[in-house]
Every structure is written in C-alpha cells, then in structure tokens.
C-alpha cells in the first residue's frame, strides 16, 4: 500500500485528534492530574485575595435591575418542618448561631429585621455563566458574628440550609474575610418584597464577590468552625463535595 502524503496527513490528523481527546479524558479521570490542575487553579485564589483587599462589589441603580431575577438550585423545600415554618410566615423560625462562639444565638426574623439594615443592588453571577441584578436587604453578617463573639479558633462560617439536593443536606461556607466584608449580608428582603421560597426564604446569604453557588438559601443555622474537614465531604459545600466546584468562587 502506497501511503500518499495527503493520506498520511489525514490519518495523522485523525489519529492525533483521537489521541488528544481520549488522552484528555484519561487525564481528567486521573486524580493526581486533576489535583494538579486544582493546585494551579488555587493560584487564582491567592492572587485574587491579594488584589481584591476590602474592595466593594459594584452597586447598581434600580434602573439597572434585571426584569426577572432567575431562581436557581433548589426552588422548593419539601421538608415538612420547613413547610410548617413557611406557612406560619417564619414566626416560629429562629436562626441559630453556634459552634466556636462565646454566645450561641437564636435570632428570630424580627430580630434580624430590627438590626441595622444594609440595602444593595448587586450583580449575581452564576457559575454557569448568566448574571442577574437584584436588590437585597438585611443585616450584615459581621454584626451577627460580633454579637455571638468568635472564639480564637474560629476560621470558617458554615451555613446549614433547609434544602436537600440529591438527598443530601445543602450547606456552604466562607472564611472570615468574606464574612466580615461590609456587603456580606443575610438578606430577608429582595426587590422590595420579603424573600420568596424559590429565592431562599426566610434568609439567604449575599456574599457579593463570589459566584452564585456560594449564596446559600434557606439558612437555618450558622456554625463557626476551625476547619472544613470532617463536615460532610470536607470540601466546604454541597457543590464542592458533589460536583468538584472550587471552594474559592471568585472566578
């Protein structure tokens, strides 16, 4: 068989393409390689932390708001205890703050509403690529944590939520830098109305320099921890544990 140059090129190109694809999938299935990718990816966290300092996320005007703010993730919480709270207007609900704090708290919605409020119109960026601009109102998370009094070992703020995905409890976590950022609030109000169930009633986190999957909804309990290890999958959140998303969601 005579292998013409054209034929050789065709075979070569097809072979290279096939090798590339199967090679990439093989690498993608290799834990050490993926850990390596994640390690290089962590450089984004290090550089971004150094660059962003205490900068504030852009705040928009009412004219800039999305006509419809897309709800994502859990849209309904079937848990009977949650449904009872919802039908009672969350009058029986209280946010628990515990873990590495001096004064564990149980804050009813009225207490959160009575605290100093922050109102901000910000852009919400989903990891999938879309964005929506909405108006949020609630107390600063930092004020609540100060009220509880952090113990010296506290490093992470974990949000335990009422919803489940794939049968697993939803949770998320941030560090103290983002927790005490002035725009980090527990929003009970959205677009001038109480938070609806699809958007996370009674309260959701707004941590404005991070992607949407960090903005935990249906928050029932806030736990201060020294480490994320030993909690569920140990990666600091449902999406991190179950999909491999990065804990640092600044990019």
């Amino acid at each position: 068989m005579i292998l013409t140059r054209r034929k050789a090129l065709q075979v070569g190109a097809a072979g290279a393409g096939g090798l590339l694809l199967s090679g990439c999938d093989a690498l993608n299935d290799s834990a050490p390689f993926k850990d390596g990718l994640a390690d290089v990816g962590r450089l984004h966290e290090l550089t971004q932390r150094a660059i962003i300092g205490d900068s504030l996320a852009r705040e928009f005007t009412e004219a800039d708001m999305s006509p419809v703010f897309k709800a994502n993730g859990s849209l309904r919480v079937p848990d009977p205890a949650y449904r009872a709270l919802l039908s009672g207007g969350f009058a029986q609900w209280a946010l628990r703050v515990d873990g590495l704090v001096h004064h564990p708290l149980a804050l009813p919605l009225t207490a959160l509403q009575a605290m100093q409020q922050r109102i901000q119109i910000t852009r919400h960026d989903c990891v999938e690529g879309w964005s929506a601009i909405g108006k949020w109102q609630g107390p600063q998370l930092g004020a609540i944590l100060s009220q509880a009094g952090l113990m010296p070992g506290a490093r992470y703020v974990v949000f335990h939520c009422a919803d489940k995905l794939e049968g697993k409890p939803f949770y998320e976590s941030i560090d103290l830098v983002e927790a005490f950022h002035p725009q980090t609030i527990l929003a009970w109000r959205m677009n001038d109305a109480p938070l609806t169930e699809p958007h996370g009633a009674p309260i959701r986190l707004r941590v404005e320099r991070q992607l949407g999957y960090k903005q935990a909804k249906y928050i029932m309990r806030i736990e201060l921890r020294e480490s994320l290890a030993g909690l569920y999958g140990g990666r600091g959140g449902f999406w991190e544990d179950n999909r491999g998303y990065q804990w640092w969601a600044g990019i």
């Binding site: 694809l21 996320a57 852009r123 990891v127 690529g129 404005e208 320099r209 990019i251």
Partner: protein
C-alpha cells in the same frame, strides 16, 4: 537569535532552496505553548459554554432576558463531546482545565511580549511599514494569495503584510482581548477593578466578546493551517520546530 538580513542586491544573499534561520527559539517555544493552551482552553471553554449556551450584551443576562446568540436550547447540548474537555458534561472539571491553562497562556504571552519588545524582535518582524500599509500593496498581496502565489526566494525571508496583520492581530488584539474579558468575568476581580468590566460594557458583554475573540482565534487557526498546508507543511513545521526554513524556489527557476 535574529538573523541579520543583507540588502537585496547583496550577492551573498540567500536564494530559493537555501536554508535560513526563520524562527527564534522564543518564538518556537511560544508557538507550541499556544498550540497546547489554545486547544485546551477552546475545548474546555466550549464545555463551559454548554452550561449556558446563550450570550447577552450588558451587565446582566439570563434565560429570562433577550440573548443575541442562542447556540442551543438550555436543555440541549450546544457542543458535542468530541469538541469538549472533558467529553462528558462537567462544568466543574472544564473550569479546572480552563483556569489552570489560563496561567500558562498568560505567562507565555506576557513573557513573549516582553522578550519581543525588549529585543526588538516584534519591531523587526511584525512592524508594518508605510509602504505596506498602502491599500494598493495590501490588495496586491491579497490578489497574489488568492492565486496561491506565495513569495519565493529572498522575498520569503520576511513576513508579508498579510502575515504581519494576522500575527499582529493575534498578538495585539485577540489574545489581550480574550485574557482581559476572561478576567472581567470574575466577580472578585470586578470588585477590585470595576474599570475592567466597564471597558467591555458589562460582564455579559465581556462574556460575549470572550466568545467572539475565541471565534477569531479559531478563524486564525483554520487559515493558518490551510496556509501551512499550501505553502509546504514539512518545510513550515520543520521551521517551527528547528528554526530552519528552506526558502521556496521560483517555479521557473530550477536552481
């Protein structure tokens, strides 16, 4: 690394068939780094786009808003597995690949740009002279290319104006645009550098321009490959591997 090119009437000047040093080591290293990075980032980027295959202008945009480009319905897959990394749907894994190789792309780009400017390489090889900018000259080159008549002999030592426009466009337009629009999609960096996202008219605009710049790179890649094949793939690939390029001979001149 750069060759000193003698004036045109010099008898020692290389002729068609001679080997000349064509590509500096830095250029060759950068070229093959780009092949790897752009291929991986394009394929992982298409997987990322699969997560929401709609593009918008402005600051916001979701399925409730008007998209200027809908690549697929949200429940469908815009780009099939053979085009994406990984081939099975995983936004998280595609992001790992994309963001890791982004470092390599940006470091190689910055390194090459600094090297090329400091060493005068970019001025010598890519600078487009006033004569070359003349529409007549450009139209002439386009006509010659359209007839598949490429420069031979000493005229092939330097890049022609179409090559300079293509390579300069990648170096000074497409790559800076794709890097900056990539950074402008980061909510953390947008807080630190609001001017960056304003430069492109909002995060969704930045995402759209990121996609268009990627399309520009694909277009460059296709034309580049076609030209390499037409101009003699073995000589071209050898020159990008070893640096040595055999000057094409005139068809009428069997020397």
């Amino acid at each position: 690394m750069d060759q000193h090119f003698p004036p045109a009437d010099d008898l020692t000047q290389p002729r068609g068939g001679d080997f000349v040093r064509r590509h500096a080591l830095a250029t060759r290293l950068w070229h093959w780094t780009n092949v790897l990075c752009i291929l991986v980032m394009l394929m992982s980027g298409l997987m990322i786009l699969n997560a929401h295959p709609r593009l918008y202008w402005g600051h916001y945009g979701s399925e409730h808003d008007t998209a200027w480009l809908v690549l697929a319905a949200l429940e469908d897959t815009a780009f099939p597995g053979w085009m994406t990394i990984p081939s099975n749907y995983s936004l998280a894994d595609a992001r790992l690949w994309h963001f890791a190789f982004a470092w390599l792309l940006v470091l190689a780009f910055t390194g090459y740009l600094i090297w090329g400017l400091v060493r005068g390489h970019i001025r010598r090889r890519l600078h487009i002279t006033r004569t070359e900018w003349s529409p007549r000259h450009i139209l002439h080159d386009i006509a010659e290319h359209a007839r598949l008549r490429f420069p031979t002999g000493p005229a092939a030592i330097n890049y022609n104006v179409l090559q300079k426009l293509a390579y300069g466009g990648v170096l000074f337009v497409l790559l800076p645009t794709i890097i900056l629009t990539g950074l402008a999609m980061s909510p953390a960096l947008d807080a630190a550098w609001p001017w960056l996202v304003d430069l492109f008219g909002g995060r969704q605009s930045a995402r759209s321009i990121h996609f268009l710049a990627a399309g520009g790179l694909v277009l460059f890649f296709l034309v580049h490959i076609i030209m390499v094949v037409l101009a003699g793939p073995i000589n071209e690939v050898r020159s990008m591997l070893t640096g040595w390029y055999r000057l094409p001979q005139d068809k009428e001149d069997p020397a």
